[in-house]
């Protein structure tokens, strides 16, 4: 879902960048007090895992593939604020080093996959009482929310009408989101088995 340079207008680029920078500042402050030294390598490992997992496009149908976002995975373990920082770092690295996502679209990509996805996914997870089903639904919804945000940004940029792009984006991402849900549940099962203390690792509240 990484938006390339040519799909955002200057206004949308600036607006999303401002929102993203402001929110990441909040995230840094929220994690400041609660962060523990022993968590640091795990946060790094999570970023590594998300980067790697995002490379694995899985075919769904109709000549289309999807890939994990991973925002909710990180949110459930480390809370939404730390997840935002991890996701922003990964997205920035992808953009600058690998040209995955345009530099002018970085603000939008961060907003979509690095802020809205972890935040809304986490809230849904909380509201649904943190069950296994909640994990799946939260992860699935995070993909849909991101795709809606992308649609809005594209239409506000004058690239395509909302009534065309929104249904199309939702259609594919309803299915791609199932992949996100399944992978997130499986990954959490594994991670909590390997290191059970990560079940109570949320940094800075929700």
């Amino acid at each position: 879902m990484h938006i390339p340079d040519s799909f955002v207008s200057p206004v949308v680029s600036i607006a999303t960048t401002v929102i993203s920078v402001g929110t990441i500042k909040i995230a840094l402050n929220k994690t400041k007090e609660a962060l523990e030294e022993k968590q640091v390598p795990y946060l790094g490992a999570m970023a590594a895992f998300i980067f790697a997992a995002q490379m694995i496009n899985f075919y769904i149908f109709g000549g289309t593939s999807g890939h994990l976002i991973g925002a909710v995975l990180a949110s459930i373990i480390f809370g939404p604020w730390a997840s935002m920082i991890i996701m922003t770092a990964v997205l920035t690295i992808q953009c600058i080093v690998f040209q995955d996502g345009g530099i002018t679209a970085l603000g939008a990509n961060v907003l979509n996959m690095g802020i809205l996805a972890p935040l809304i996914g986490y809230k849904v997870y909380q509201i649904m009482k943190k069950t296994k089903t909640a994990i799946f639904v939260a992860a699935w919804l995070s993909v849909l929310v991101s795709s809606i945000a992308v649609s809005l940004e594209l239409s506000l940029s004058g690239i395509i009408n909302l009534d065309i792009v929104l249904p199309a984006m939702l259609f594919w991402h309803i299915f791609i989101g199932i992949g996100e849900g399944l992978i997130t549940v499986a990954a959490l099962n594994y991670i909590f088995m390997v290191k059970p203390s990560l079940k109570t690792s949320e940094i800075g509240g929700g």
């Binding site: 879902m1 593939s65 690295i93």
Partner: protein, 96 residues
């Protein structure tokens, strides 16, 4: 072995060994761009990046180029996030 190292190795395995086998079909956004016609907006790719499109330059075999790109990106991601939190923590550690 430290558990975070286990997770890091999993990530390296995924990024390095599995990535060459990932689907090359367009993702949702690209598909929509194709279907609805706005893919034409895709401009010239600016090659300021080191490893454009996850292909390590100078490696002829594309699978290998992807594998190396995956491992490098995985390690960079670990390193940068580790540094961010480590430095952030250091800067905010209360005096003992």
């Amino acid at each position: 072995m430290k558990k975070w190292l286990v997770i890091l190795f999993c990530a390296l395995f995924i990024g390095g060994l599995i990535s060459p086998f990932a689907s090359s079909s367009p993702d949702g956004l690209e598909k929509v761009a194709e279907q609805t016609g706005f893919l034409v907006h895709t401009g010239e790719a600016k090659s300021l990046s080191l490893i454009p499109d996850y292909n390590l330059p100078g490696v002829k075999n594309t699978s290998l180029a992807t594998a190396f790109a995956g491992m490098i990106g995985t390690l960079i991601s670990f390193g940068i996030v580790y540094l961010i939190f480590r430095l952030w923590l250091k800067g905010n550690m209360k005096e003992a």
